[in-house]
Amino acid sequence: MSRGRLLVVGSLVASLALVGVYLAAGGASYAPEKTQNPCKSRAWRNPGNLQQIAEQFSLSALDGAACELGVSREALARALASKEGRERFAKRYGIDDAKLAEAIRAGLVRAVDDAEEAGALSPFIAGPLRATVEQIPLPEAIELIRDARKTLSSLEDLLGPAGGLIEELIP
């Protein structure tokens, strides 16, 4: 084989070997992990206490609101962290406070539905809670998503005598 051919064949082998090794090492799939579509329900992880219910309630509400707005759950979570974050989000996606409030309320309703379906909330609590979140003002709605623990633990106050059932009804 002439030197010229040897050089061409050697270059081809070296190039294919490099590409092959990098492909085998996962080069074709080295990308950020895909986030889940917020419109698809997530299974609740066997909630064992109030904190876990509150966490999953928040995540479910975020999913529901993000689905309503057509954005990712993660982008919405970043937006709800601060007033500046909300302003950036509003500017980027062209979403005003009224639309945001409507979406968050819808998200909270979905969270109540999901909690009820997962057996984390009894229908006695889910019904009044659903009615409450459907009317809740935006600041309180955001606060509820940020931390649902306070609300769930103070349902007693919201629901009066029926609230006393919470501790018994949360599995």
Binding site: S2, R3, G4, R5, L7, V8, G10, S11, L12, A14, S15, L16, L18, V19, Y22, L23, A25, G26, G27, A28, Y30, A31, P32, E33, K34, T35, Q36, A54, E55, S58, L59, L62, S72, R73, E74, A75, A77, R78, A79, L80, A81, S82, E84, G85, R88, R146, D147, A148, R149
Partner: protein, 457 residues
Amino acid sequence: MNPEAARPRVTALALAVGLVLADSSVVVLALPEIYRELDTSVAGVTWVLVSFNLVMALAAVPAALLARRAGPGRAAAVGLAVFAGAGLACGLADDLSTLILARCVQALGGAAAVTAALELLPATVGSERGAAHVWAAAGATGAALGPAIGGILTELVSWQSIFLLQVPVALVAAAPILAVARHEAATGVIEPELRRTGRPHLWANLALAMVSAAIAAALFLLVLLLIEGWRLTPIGAAIVVSVMPLAALLGSRLGGLVPSARARAAAGAILVSGGLGGLALLPKAEVALTVPPQILVGIGLSLVLSALTETALGGRSPQAIHGGWTISARHAGVVLGLLALTPIFTHDIEAQRRDAIDAGTAVILDSPVDPLLKIELAGKISDRLGGEKGKVPTLGPVFEPLPEDPGERAEAERLRDELQEQLDRGATHAFSPSFGLAALLGLLALVPIGLARRVEL
């Protein structure tokens, strides 16, 4: 001319060619600094490179004609003086428009100097073939060394120093050429007749343009990946990309063992494409993984650029005008590569950045940390993103101060690492389509290289 007397002039001419051709890539590592300092956009800062290469592409052949008419000594000396003066203006520019305008003038001077150098070299070296070899080797070395030198200067001094340093170097290169210019002034210039054999080598020049587009993309994109994506300093990136010129040295030795220019051109194009393919398929955000692809690109660029330049010049006269065509083809290729790939990768990097941040935020949201802390971390990430212009941010500060509780601390560190991993994945993946397209361009150059073979029969 006796060899001893010729040596300083050959060195000066090679230095001039290397300096000018390095200039098409020397600012690559400084672009992120220029981008931030002059407060422009990625597309805007790309024009610091594009303008120089575009003017070189357009001016090379007219400059070669002018060099023959005015005298190559005078053209080279005036060209280097213009190059130096415009370099000074680049170094003093405080806005993007001035910088781009000065870069255009620099390219005009550079085109005159480089093409005139090729007209002067045969008489100095002793043969046209030898002159073509010196000219091609100086150009390939300059192009390969440019980014590393630019990166070191940017880090140690400033991006302006790249241009300011060119001034004395250009003047040093011009000094031995002044004697020729004086001789021309005293005796007058007799313009040699253009011979019919002077048609440019279409396929070799086309292949040069395509390979140059791929190589420009390799340099430009790799530098941006290292600095903007993986957060290396310019000097760190300069050290990393110096693998390419070192490999190019190896390539030129290898090329010396193979007489067939076609085989060297084909092998070089395959290696450049293979290296770019490797960069498109990086399996992890690790600097060491860029070394094997860079070795292939470095060896490949040395083989293919010199082989195609020699083919384009071989047996053709006048050398300066054919040199002008090769310069034109190379720089047109660089412009094509930059203009075609920049919009693709700027779009991809933004999309991947968003995906990476979303993936990182998802890790936080699904983690077992306190819900209030989750939202707080998400907010800090959002603020951090807004604060770093274009650059993939370092997210360590988002997690500061780390919790004192060992369990919480371990969880915070896990989250931080996972989030940074997602960002690294996003930054790396954002460059994959552009590297892949550049690899394809390099492979497509095999078509004109194959056709050149038929024509050469």
